[in-house]
Symmetry: C2
């Protein structure tokens, strides 16, 4: 912003020389709120635990900026949430940027600032990074990668294979917001009130859920492939049947409308701030109460249960009383959603 020399990215900004140092020191580190310090090939961290969670995600979302977020916020939240659902308390993030030559400097700066804001919201520092610049046309604007490390307490034992008959299925809020927010930007759809992406770091809420004594079997954030993909993975991994009551699943009206219009199933639409929790039936109400204390979990609800019977199947009980099979999505109807 206050960097008049950085009008657009040049190939030399990715070259490992003085111009890259300038980009790092005048744009990236200030945006991330990091002190300059000595940049080394790796960050060295104190890790006062013995079990680590480690995850990576690349982000290619289009457009880069959308209602409720942008690629930078998405990259932080996606990786923080992947650590959190594995029981990991995030301690460090990395940030890899691939930028097309000619990308306006302001775009890079806004994205870096958004990474910084989201990282502070999650309470996790970006400790290491990398920037590559490719020639015009070789990449579509900006791609990011974030990897993350979390500490997993010995007491946390989550596994997609541990769902049992009698367990409850919880969704932390309304589904489909992120995917529809992106699609409506891309297709130029407008609603009375715009659909806003749910992209948010869930680590604080998930830590509180994990503090509920016992009974939490497994968690997944429902990103690409939506809630349908998560439920199918869990049903297969645990060899159980999962029955969902469709009317219990929160879906915002505008998302319903957009899905009808676009021929999409909200269960298959990506979320970026929703977690599916399977826990023992007895603990479910308590877990929902804990989630509702957080903004990100204000609409949390018990939406179904685990049953014996058709192992590996997910059944959706429709409002008129019938059952339909909720299949694993085949591919993605919505490319570049994250």
């Amino acid at each position: 912003m206050n960097n008049p020399e950085f009008e657009a990215v040049m190939l030399a900004h990715g070259g490992g020389g003085e111009l890259m140092q300038q980009l790092i020191h005048t744009v990236l580190l200030p945006a991330l709120g990091n002190s300059p310090g000595t940049l080394s090939d790796s960050a060295v961290l104190d890790a006062p635990g013995q079990r680590l969670a480690f995850t990576t995600d690349s982000y290619v979302v289009k457009p880069l900026f959308f209602h409720g977020g942008d690629i930078g916020r998405l990259a932080v939240c996606g990786t923080v949430n992947d650590l959190a659902v594995c029981g990991g308390s995030p301690i460090a993030l990395s940030l890899g940027m691939i930028i097309a030559e000619g990308t306006p400097g302001e775009v890079v700066q806004r994205i870096a600032e958004s990474v910084g804001v989201a990282a502070r919201e999650a309470g996790v520092p970006v400790v290491t990074g990398d920037t590559k610049v490719v020639e015009r046309g070789a990449a579509d604007g900006v791609f990011l990668n974030t990897s993350g490390i979390g500490l997993v307490p010995e007491s946390v034992l989550l596994s997609p294979t541990s769902c049992e008959s009698g367990d409850a299925v919880i969704v932390s809020g309304a589904i489909g917001d992120h995917g529809i927010a992106i699609m409506s930007e891309r297709e130029g759809l407008s609603f009375e009130s715009p659909v806003v992406s749910d992209v948010a770091p869930l680590n604080h809420m998930i830590a509180d859920v994990l503090a509920v004594p016992e009974g939490i079997r497994c968690m997944r954030d429902a990103t690409r492939g939506g809630v349908a993909a998560v439920l199918n993975e869990l049903a297969v991994a645990s060899g159980v049947c999962i029955r969902i009551e469709e009317s219990a699943v929160p879906v915002h009206p505008a998302v319903h409308g957009a899905c009808d219009l676009l021929g999409l199933d909200p269960f298959e639409v990506a979320n970026e701030g929703k977690v599916v929790v399977v826990c023992s039936g007895e603990r479910a109400e308590r877990a929902v109460q804990v989630m509702r204390r957080h903004t990100a979990g204000a609409e949390a609800a018990i939406v179904g249960q685990v049953e014996d019977g058709r192992a590996g199947r997910v059944l959706l009980q429709t409002p008129i009383g019938g059952d339909r099979i909720l299949d694993m999505p085949y591919g993605e109807q919505l490319p570049r959603i994250c």
Copy 2:
């Protein structure tokens, strides 16, 4: 290869659904030599240490395959080496792939296999990954990101600020091979014997160097910006002058020839299997002997020393006895070298 259905990548291969599961299970995991197991959002690792090194790099090299390596080998070695030069013993890698729709399946398979081979050579498993597919034209073939975690023993204290007058500067072998290998492919240059990239994992050699008792101040792998960038960073960080004897620095004749032809300085050309080590003068011979026991260090040599005087400067003593200043490269003459 033996996967006739996987002729080309489709957008749906990146969608989080069944087709992505197929890609992961029939192509990626077998190529990496990983057991299928249960794929979760994060890998969970036992980490029997308290200090971690953490690094990330994206790879956009063009062409994807070149003499001596390919983008997959590059991605593993680059990240392993970044951990190793910080004193980290690598324990885990992540792999993020961004693939353009229409990329031949064979290309993805060869790259994944190369990742697997290099990871085994380094002795480091790929424990977590992510695949995104973007539409034709939105990315140039395949981009990779690898992040890595290493364990840093308490006894290892390396810092770019710790170079002292009287220290020796060691280079682990001939410089410029990687950059010239890429450029000759790209420019269609041919030599009597082709220049072969030096891309290699250096972690085993570096572990042996670190076992030399005391005296190792700092290490850097000389990638983008070449040896010139590394030496300038160290000279500035430590507030010292570094004097290099040009004739002591190994450069293969074909690299010399290509640099003359292309107007490049071998000191600014990228390496992917060379480390610059600064250590106390007394320990230098011992360190070189240790390096020469490894294929990657067969041509290791003491090439200069640290001096008081012009702080932050790197001086190159030419064969005819003069000094020239070796500056920090401004940008990269060779985009998409890694």
